[in-house]
């Protein structure tokens, strides 16, 4: 292949940033593309829920209770006569909000705790690592049920409870990455130049160590969405019947599964599809960023 000559007459090497490279590799992964498509669909549904699903999601309409899917009610109606399609579409908001809020907050806590432990080492590392161990020792479901009940239930309680028991994994992973980067020569060089702790951490350590943690955090979004549905299904999470949480819907429609199975199937499918979209994209991201496959 002939070398490309620029106007200056210097052979131009192919310039490829890490981000560009990741996107190129992601695009070749069909499953990841499918994941992106699903997530885009779910996100659009959440953003434009009020335009797409115009029928009421709460109230009581006796004249149209327990109808089968039809042109007017695509997913049918429930025992209160509420349009299931509208409820499922509005449910995307709850799932995405819980998923993103939990992951954003555990990233923040995990990076602060894991970063402090890994960067400073010594006593700080010993104490914080033992704290992480204590949290990882809790059974997740039991812990979240107790905490969400103590907090009085509802959306905020669910977010806090799931986040409370999810950050240690992030912290431990990030701690390891920080330790491996902290000892590198370019961090030492920055120190030799007189850089302070803040500059060394934010300019050098963080950008070079955060990628695996971001991928892992992304993979926690579906886990979180399912955890919210599970808590709500079990009767501990979102319990206000007016809130269209998929887990709560499945729980409330479960007695009708033999006569109106669609009432359980549609929210269940929405939940599964959403989780799968995030899992596919998460796997794709992990593969695209894996240096061994590069």
């Amino acid at each position: 292949m002939a070398t490309v000559e620029t106007s200056a007459g210097v052979a131009a090497p192919e310039v490829r940033s890490l981000r560009g490279e990741t996107w190129r590799r992601l695009r070749r992964n069909r499953m990841a593309i499918a994941g992106i498509a699903i997530i885009a669909l779910v996100a659009l549904a959440a953003i434009f829920a009020d335009l797409i699903a115009t029928q009421p999601t709460e109230g009581f309409f006796a004249d149209q209770a327990r109808e089968s899917p039809s042109a007017r009610h695509w997913f049918g109606t429930d025992q209160l006569g509420l349009d299931l399609f509208s409820r499922v579409v509005h449910g995307t908001r709850i799932s995405l909000m819980v998923g993103f809020s939990v992951v954003a907050s555990i990233l923040l806590v995990g990076i602060v705790v894991g970063g402090a432990a890994g960067y400073f080492g010594g006593i700080a590392d010993t104490l914080l690592s033992r704290l992480i161990d204590v949290f990882l020792g809790f059974p997740f479901l039991v812990g979240t049920i107790i905490l969400v009940t103590a907090l009085g239930g509802g959306k905020m309680a669910v977010i806090v409870a799931i986040a409370f028991f999810s950050w240690p994994g992030i912290a431990r992973l990030f701690r390891g990455s920080v330790i491996s980067i902290r000892g590198s020569e370019y961090v030492e060089a920055a120190r030799a130049l007189g850089a302070g702790h803040l500059r060394m951490f934010f300019r050098h350590v963080l950008p070079n160590s955060v990628t695996p943690t971001l991928v892992y955090a992304f993979a926690l979004i579906p886990t979180t969405i399912i955890a919210e549905a599970a808590l709500s299904f079990l009767g501990f999470g979102i319990q206000n019947p007016a809130e269209p949480s998929w887990g709560l819907m499945i729980a409330r429609y479960r007695p009708l599964i033999q006569t109106e199975p669609h009432l359980v199937i549609f929210p269940g499918m929405a939940l599964t599809m959403t989780a799968m979209g995030f899992i596919l994209l998460g796997d794709g991201l992990r593969d695209a960023l894996d240096p061994r496959l590069r």
């Binding site: 020569e185 060089a189 007189g194």
Partner: protein, 334 residues
């Protein structure tokens, strides 16, 4: 302290604790990486520090840089005691003392452009601000032989020799007086080594720099150093002006090292005797008592196992050429 020595190191010691246990840390021993090292470097001079891997050369460099805290001993730089300084007190020192690392692939942040890498020091020390940084970076890149137009490229787009030039440029950015070169060319191809060495020599002349040049390759040391100190297991065993060391090595360890340097004359090379040392370098955890070299020395006697030889002058070498051996004698090996 004489007025002209820029760096004055006295009895520098660095022990690393070896600990066991997670919650209750028990100290199970010390790694004696640097154990009583003294030397001085005059302004504008290049002191070579040679020795095998693991003998404490790089630890000495990091102690001088104050990237590590010394266990004991003093480090005086330009007359000021910097060995006991901590944290922000080290800031002024960071402007005057810089380091060039061995591995040009590990010592540059892969996520920063070379312009950002070179400019970082100027920003830290507020030597320039805004657009002025850009101009200064390009100036320095030009000076070390890099195309200034490539300031927005990432380190992985450069070759090993060019990357090492970036490392040199980064060190120069703060206009230091003293640069520690920690094996700056040992990771490079032989053909590139000479270019980088010449660059370092030119810069020394131009800016009046003082170097501590660490290497394990004696022929590289011979090219650039005025004086050479030989280290073995955390101690300096011999110090001499470059030509004296090569002509009249006094310490058996120095003689063994020099006998391994290839001579570019096949006949001489064939006829000379190589001194092949037995065994490996002992662990710096529990190093041999008294003379640390006695386990591998062909001259070793009972006294070597009992009394540590001081670093002192022996005839025929002059007073500026001390060696730490009870049986020091001149031998021609090169």
């Amino acid at each position: 302290m004489t007025s002209e020595s820029l760096v004055d190191v006295r009895d520098l010691v660095k022990y690393f604790a070896v600990t066991r246990g997670i919650i209750v840390r028990r100290n199970v021993g010390w790694i004696k990486a640097v154990d009583g090292v003294s030397f001085t470097i005059k302004e504008g001079e290049t002191l070579g520090l040679v020795g095998e891997t693991g003998c404490g050369k790089s630890t000495t460099a990091r102690l001088l840089m104050r990237l590590l805290d010394p266990t004991s001993g003093t480090i005086r730089f330009a007359g000021q005691d910097v060995g006991a300084r901590r944290g922000s007190q080290l800031r002024p020192l960071r402007r005057q003392v810089q380091i060039i690392f061995q591995d040009p692939f590990a010592s540059l942040d892969p996520r920063m452009t070379v312009g950002e890498i070179i400019g970082e020091a100027m920003r830290i020390h507020r030597l320039a601000a805004g657009d002025a940084v850009h101009g200064r970076v390009q100036e320095i890149m030009e000076r070390v032989g890099l195309n200034p137009d490539r300031h927005d490229r990432y380190p992985h787009e450069f070759s090993g020799g060019q990357r090492q030039r970036v490392g040199v440029a980064r060190a120069l950015a703060v206009q230091p007086r003293f640069i520690i070169c920690d094996e700056p060319v040992s990771a490079l191809d032989v053909s590139i080594q000479a270019q980088v060495l010449n660059l370092l020599k030119d810069l020394q002349k131009e800016f009046g720099l003082t170097y501590l040049f660490i290497a394990h390759d004696l022929s590289v040391v011979r090219q650039v150093c005025d004086r050479v100190a030989v280290m073995y297991l955390g101690k300096i065993v011999e110090v001499a002006a470059r030509d004296d060391l090569y002509a009249l090595p006094m310490h058996p360890y120095t003689q063994a090292l020099l006998s391994a340097v290839p001579i570019p004359d096949p006949e001489k090379e064939r006829s000379r005797k190589r001194i092949v040392l037995q065994g490996d370098v002992p662990s710096p955890l529990n190093p041999p008592p008294a003379c640390r070299f006695h386990t591998r020395c062909w001259k070793a006697q009972q006294i070597c196992r009992e009394v540590e030889p001081p670093l002192e002058a022996h005839s025929p070498a002059g007073p500026d050429h001390p060696a730490a051996c009870h049986f020091a004698e001149a031998a021609q090996v090169v």
